[in-house]
């Protein structure tokens, strides 16, 4: 990301204000400023649907063009949710167009919104879970155990762990992800219940 979002003076203007300025004079500059604020999030939504960075990048630019017209035509109460829906619908439409035949393997619209909750990053364990936890940790593959220990117990960042273990960033990420999942499975087998999920 090019500049720190939130630190520029123009970031003090509300979404609706920027939108109004665009609608008044047709100057793309204002719409651009507005879109920049949400571009990473729009990109993320596209990634969710296309699962392809190149297509998602193209979609982000295409969505801006849609915005150029629609922001003029429609009176929008709240910009942010409207943009979200607009982006998602555009990507879904594009996705369907690209499908030569209907595919039952992957339908992005079918993914429930809460699918991301599978990504468990933290578990709130009761105090008596300590022993099972150590047991499960020991059962992990070495690479996974080391990464999980460094990340969770020693609060190291991914980058630092990669350097320490002479691994790539991607490898570290996957070690931590797999390690977490295996721990969870192991603990459940041992009958450990979490206090409450706030992942």
């Amino acid at each position: 990301m090019v500049k720190r979002i939130g630190s520029q003076p123009e970031d003090q203007t509300s979404d609706e204000d920027l939108l109004a300025r665009y609608r008044a004079g047709g100057e793309l500059r204002y719409l651009g400023l507005l879109y920049q604020r949400y571009m990473p999030m729009v990109y993320g939504v596209c990634l969710k649907i296309f699962r392809d960075a190149g297509k998602s990048e193209d979609a982000v630019m295409a969505i801006f063009e849609v915005l150029v017209v629609k922001a003029r035509e429609h009176q929008v109460e709240s910009f942010r949710p409207w943009l979200h829906v607009l982006a998602r619908n555009h990507c879904l439409m594009e996705w369907r167009k690209e499908q030569r035949r209907p595919t039952d393997l992957y339908d992005p619209a079918a993914i429930p919104l809460s699918a991301g909750a599978d990504q468990v990053v933290e578990m709130d364990l009761p105090p008596d879970a300590r022993q099972p936890l150590e047991q499960c940790l020991a059962a992990l593959a070495e690479a996974q155990r080391r990464c999980v220990q460094l990340f969770y117990y020693e609060e190291k960042s991914y980058k630092e762990i990669a350097e320490l273990l002479s691994e790539t960033l991607g490898a570290v990420r996957s070690h931590i992800q797999n390690g977490r999942r295996n721990l969870k499975i192991c603990l459940e087998k041992l009958g450990v219940q979490e206090n409450n999920r706030h992942t």
Binding site: R29, L31, R37, M41, K48, E57, I111, E155, K159
Partner: protein, 304 residues
């Protein structure tokens, strides 16, 4: 302003992409995503996509957006091209047809101008018209609007997607209201002039013949009326008073032509005020005429 949580979320996302993220920050990132649909879907997209240099992608997108939005307006190009094409067609038609019309209608104008002491409606005078806007392209179009052009108005109508246009702009713009008004008002003027000639009863035919003769001896601007009109269009300057008060109208000047073809003894027969009388005189002084031995009258229009 942008939500502080969005700012924090995007910052943490950026850190995550760089690998510069610790356990607590990652928890915070996920917590922020959980709170909000837009953020949740966005994070899922990043998490579920194969490893990729997303940062470079985001950088590229920012650059593309900057290029796209650098000081440009959102109106698409094709209405302007359409307007340009329409204008060219009209200019061609005007060049083709205007000399005929001008020759015909000069006569009644010259006569009426002479009689300008009695109240004359502006519509009855065939006059070089100039809109007051400084933009040459627009003025050019409206100058050629002196030919009745309903087709042009129709072509112009769909080119106005946005209702408001607050500031005067140097870029070529699609058809503007002044030009449209120009077309609307010139058409009846021509009709009025033509009708007068046709409606005249036979006894007046003799008078008309005299008119025609008189017309033949009126001064002509050097280069023709086209050039004269074009000159006015290109050089007219509205005064601030006129602009502020939205002034529209004509200044009637009478003048003689000296041996070198320059206007002399210019008199303001019918003033308009707001400093436009002086402007009309200033403009006239720069034009050149073929002398006719008589005083001539010309109306110089200023239109918002």
């Amino acid at each position: 302003m942008i939500k502080p949580n969005d700012i924090r979320f995007i910052r943490l996302l950026q850190q995550w992409l760089q690998g510069d993220l610790r356990r607590r920050e990652e928890s915070e990132l996920h917590r922020l995503a959980e709170q909000d649909d837009f953020r949740r879907e966005a994070l899922e997209g990043f998490l579920n996509t194969a490893a990729e240099d997303h940062e470079a992608r985001l950088q590229s997108m920012h650059e593309k957006l900057a290029l796209r939005t650098a000081g440009r307006r959102s109106r698409p190009l094709w209405p302007r091209l359409l307007a340009l094409a329409a204008a060219l067609v009209l200019i061609g038609a005007a060049i083709r047809f205007l000399p005929d019309w001008v020759g015909r209608d000069r006569a009644p104008v010259a006569l009426q101008a002479e009689k300008s002491d009695s109240a004359q409606s502006p519509a009855q005078t065939q006059t070089p018209r100039i809109p007051s806007d400084a933009v040459p392209e627009k003025s050019q179009e409206s100058q050629t609007a002196s030919a009745p052009e309903p087709a042009r108005r129709r072509a112009a109508a769909p080119e106005r997607p946005m209702p408001s246009q607050p500031e005067p702009i140097a870029l070529a713009e699609p058809e503007s209201p002044p030009a449209e008004m120009e077309a609307a008002e010139t058409a009846p003027a021509y009709d009025a002039v033509v009708e007068m000639k046709r409606a005249a009863p036979p006894p007046a035919a003799a008078a008309r013949a005299q008119e025609e003769t008189a017309a033949a001896s009126q001064s002509q601007p050097v280069g023709g009326w086209d050039a004269f009109n074009r000159f006015l269009v290109d050089n007219a300057r509205l005064t601030p008073a006129a602009r502020n008060n939205n002034v529209s109208g004509f200044v009637r000047l009478s003048f003689a032509v000296d041996s070198s073809g320059a206007p002399e003894n210019i008199r303001v027969v019918q003033p308009l005020g707001y400093g436009l009388d002086a402007e009309a005189v200033r403009l006239l002084r720069q034009t050149r005429w073929t002398p006719s031995g008589m005083r001539d009258t010309v109306d110089i229009w200023f239109r918002r």
